[in-house]
């Protein structure tokens, strides 16, 4: 970090100016009570026969909608949009100035990382549809005459989502721990490494690699399971190969859609990194941690890295123990349970992400839109957004903001608990169905209350 650069100072602690106020204690307590009440209400009165089944759930979309969504035109539009944004922001990253007003940083950390959550909630697997890595790998395959989607060898199924978990960790470490996270060079290097790995991986293992290893695609596709958009697979897919044909477009309730998450190795780690890192983001700005790391003589990289690992691993370990602490039948081995229940933590993550990043997305997102007009920091106005006035309504209404946060967290908790309940009555033997759910329920209340506590104390 070398002092000031033109047009804005390099911040030592990530993008963005003021942070949200802590939520009031009354609201945090109300949210915690809500989480408890919801959990036991679900346990006491919820259905006793599993309701969700990927093969039958959802209703077929109207034919015109299916035709539109599955049309090559829409697919090409998405790919072109992704490539245009990628090249435009890439130009700012390569040719622009190392300054906080370079839109590359805001696009990467805010529009992409945070924005993919609402985009995927609304539109389904959004990043998969626009992913530049996927587009480039498809173009390569076309040029070299490789059958679409296939690589040199099948993707090893036992790797599952582990590469994505590693990629997600690399991203959150860059964003939350690395001191030069807002300097152009390191972020550009990270993106180049990401793109290189994705292209090589997809050449070797086909596009299945992107669906399992691309941190953004895995994150987006996981959140998309809370959207209403689903596909009913026409037949079982061959292991390691992409499905032939797309299947029928169906509209599902988010709960039914969430149930179609496929449990693969590494899913628990993905969930752990996503939830743990968001919690760590609150924690690292809390006064006790700040005072502690600043009183050490060394840099805070090491303690922050250790804490980030502890939060991520902590979530994964709690989930693993809580799901395995039950009686099982011989059909489902105990060690398969953590992955089979990991989907139920996704809504809790999304609720907490909304609570944590809403202002950041709305306000820094607007700032990024303004900056996008001037990619080379010369005072240009390419997109006509340079003179946009940023609307700070959200941070000017802290009570509304705090209530929205608690509602989002509570809503995520409801969906998560219902999803876990449905899975429990499908998988667990009848006499363990109530007691078998309890440890996971306690863990989920712990996640939600812990998240609320951090929103209150940070």
């Amino acid at each position: 970090m070398t002092g000031l650069s033109v047009g804005g100072s390099i911040s030592a602690h990530g993008l963005g100016g003021a942070k949200d106020l802590p939520i009031p204690s009354e609201l945090a307590i109300a949210g915690a009570v809500a989480a408890l009440v919801i959990s036991f209400t679900v346990l006491a009165i919820a259905w006793r026969e599993p309701r969700y089944d990927a093969a039958t759930s959802g209703r077929p979309a109207p034919e015109w909608l299916d035709r539109l969504v599955s049309s090559p035109g829409l697919a090409i539009t998405g790919r072109v949009f992704g490539m245009v944004v990628f090249l435009y922001v890439g130009a700012a990253a390569v040719l622009g100035k190392d300054s906080l007003i370079n839109p590359f940083l805001g696009t990467f950390y805010v529009l992409l990382w945070v924005g993919l959550v609402p985009a995927s909630l609304l539109l389904g697997p959004f990043f998969k549809a626009i992913s530049p890595a996927r587009t480039i790998s498809m173009l390569f395959a076309k040029i070299s005459g490789v059958p679409a989607g296939e690589g040199l060898r099948p993707y090893p199924e036992r790797l599952g989502y582990w590469p994505a978990a590693v990629g997600l960790f690399a991203f959150v470490w860059l964003e939350l721990v690395y001191p030069s996270s807002t300097a152009l060079g390191p972020v550009r290097l990270w993106c180049a490494a990401y793109l290189g790995i994705m292209l090589i991986g997809s050449a070797v293992w086909g596009t299945t690699f992107l669906a399992r290893a691309d941190p953004f695609e895995v994150y987006s596709s996981l959140v998309a399971k809370l959207s209403i958009w689903g596909r009913r697979e026409p037949f079982e897919t061959v292991a390691g190969r992409p499905p032939q044909g797309k299947g029928q477009l169906v509209l599902r309730s988010p709960l039914a859609n969430l149930d179609t998450v496929v449990a693969r190795p590494g899913l628990v780690a993905v969930v752990g990194v996503l939830f743990g890192s968001t919690a760590f983001d609150s924690f690292r700005e809390s006064t006790p941690w700040l005072k502690l790391v600043q009183s050490l003589s060394a840099s805070r990289i090491l303690p922050d890295t250790v804490a980030l690992i502890a939060f991520s691993a902590g979530v994964a370990i709690v989930l693993t123990i809580a799901t395995m602490a039950t009686g099982v039948t011989s059909d489902t081995p105990r060690r398969a349970l953590p992955s089979l229940f990991a989907h139920s933590v996704v809504p809790i993550i999304v609720g907490y992400i909304v609570a944590h990043y809403l202002t950041y997305l709305v306000e820094y997102g607007q700032r990024t839109l303004v900056q996008l007009s001037d990619p080379f920091s010369r005072g240009d106005n390419y997109l006509g957004t340079a003179d946009l006035q940023i609307n700070y309504w959200l941070s000017e209404h802290p009570t509304f903001l705090a209530v929205t946060k608690v509602v989002a967290v509570a809503l995520g908790h409801v969906v998560g608990v219902v999803a876990a309940h449905d899975r429990a009555i499908r998988l667990l033997p009848r006499r363990h169905q109530l007691t078998g759910q309890l440890p996971l329920l306690v863990a989920m209340v712990g996640f939600t209350v812990g998240g609320l506590y951090l929103l209150f104390a940070a």
Partner: protein, 126 residues
């Protein structure tokens, strides 16, 4: 079970929380230890000896548009960054100097020194 059955307790709890938090907006900002309140302003003293700063990441409560009087005692000239939106900078000389700071929007604003990177204050503006 229908989801509406579930919605009832949730709605109840949230309704309780909404009424509970309606009253806390009027609380006047109070100052924490190390910061002194004097009429309409809050005063904080920052000292720097070489690379040693005090205070270390202390929370200070401040009202929106209330003036923070920052007394800086330093043995060398430097700059503090105020991570409000938009950001503000406070340049100071060696010796004792007094600076005024006003934040016009609620939020948590960090006052930070760069090189070395130390967060001195977290202003809780409400």
């Amino acid at each position: 079970m229908r989801l509406s059955t579930l919605a009832a307790p949730l709605a109840l709890v949230l309704a309780m929380s909404l009424t509970a938090c309606g009253s806390d907006d009027a609380d006047p900002p109070s100052s924490s230890q190390g910061a002194t309140q004097d009429g309409d302003t809050v005063a904080v003293t920052v000292t720097r000896e070489g690379d040693e700063f005090t205070p270390n990441g202390e929370r200070v409560e401040l009202g929106v548009d209330q003036t923070l009087v920052l007394t800086i005692e330093s043995d060398e000239a430097g700059e503090l960054h105020v991570h409000s939106t938009p950001e503000q900078e406070i340049a100071y000389d060696a010796g004792t100097s007094e600076h005024e700071l006003v934040i016009d929007r609620p939020g948590v604003v960090e006052v930070e020194s760069h090189e070395p990177d130390v967060v001195l204050l977290q202003l809780e503006v409400r």
